[in-house]
Symmetry: C2
Subunit: 206 residues, 2 copies
């Protein structure tokens, strides 16, 4: 057995290129799943794009599904951190709702390729891995539901609004962006976000 | 050559079972595409489900894509007829907008399986067949845009609303239903439709 110090140094020396390779792999997998769809994409496609042998991929993953899990988990976690930051601002519920809608639309537009893979291919994961990522109650929906309840407690959101249905309504129009948003097109992400936020606040405000 | 009368009679006799078989084929294809996803589904799966030989399918279609085209075209045409009927009612623009949102949500929930194939698999069709179905300017979006413009002309919808962006916003939350609506679940199609319609009208009304 090598002395602990030496093992540690060796691991340290290996870590960087391996991590770099891994993040390249996830990035390329995202792009390939986006272009071909998860079902049609093969590990061979991904290896070819990376200039690697297909066999070398098994150093990082066991199956194509492992890669889909990584892609979806990554963009979902990023979106969740973004939502939590926006929600925890020191402001009233309506102001926070506005910020959340704008920020969520912007996050989605800025991460269009990975968001598309997330939203379009989530159901390709088996239920237990899907649940591991989004949780029992769908993390985004849960956060928005909470925010709308906060607004009702403050008296600034209408009493007769179902927080869960309103959360699904807001997320639906934001999620659907991945099907029509064109970077550099007719509307900027900011314009879309601000317009959606205005309409949502107007619809739900007491 | 057989006399015209006889040919006509023969055709008449054949037509019914062939049309019946064809509509069964489209129905089964819809279900198989829904369950397995278009890419993963095979003509063999569809033939097995129908108790037919795969070769017999070629009497009706040339490729799996022909079946996807039929499924998507059918549900899209139905949805369009529905929207046009709702839009042409003799009422003001806001009232018609309300009816359109409710009726569109209900149509989607009542045709959940075929709507799912339409919304999830549209991009699996080549651009020219996609365009043949939804048209240059996406038929649903075009109709909603028109209705919002009518409302602006009547002075009942805010001037600063972009009709196209509002149409995309409304359709997004309705389309997303296919990902979360559960028949017999927490909300009925009617409840969802009425709630969405209230929010949309409140958001856009002058």
């Amino acid at each position: 057995m090598a002395p602990p110090g030496r093992t540690a140094r060796r691991r340290g020396a290996e870590r960087k290129p391996r991590e770099k390779r891994w993040s390249e792999l996830v990035k390329v997998a995202t792009q390939v799943f986006y272009e071909k769809g998860y079902e049609a994409a093969s590990l061979q496609d991904i290896a070819d794009r990376l200039g690697m042998l297909k066999g070398s991929l098994y150093y990082y993953i066991q199956t194509k599904e492992d890669l889909l899990y990584e892609v979806i988990n990554g963009v979902h976690q990023g979106g969740l951190r973004n939502l939590k930051t926006l929600m925890s601002k020191d402001a009233g519920a309506l102001e926070r709702l506005r910020e959340v809608v704008i920020g969520h639309v912007e996050y989605e537009c800025e991460n269009l390729v990975s968001t598309t893979v997330f939203l379009h291919e989530l159901d390709a994961l088996p239920p237990e891995r899907r649940q591991e990522i989004v949780g029992e109650d769908h993390a985004y929906r849960g956060l928005l539901t909470e925010l709308i309840e906060d607004g009702q407690a403050e008296g600034v959101i209408k009493e007769d609004v179902s927080p869960k249905l309103a959360a699904l309504w807001i997320l639906g129009s934001a999620n659907w962006l991945y099907r029509w948003y064109v970077p550099g097109g007719e509307f900027t992400a900011r314009e879309i976000g601000e317009q959606f936020a205005d309409w949502v606040v107007r619809a739900l405000a007491a």
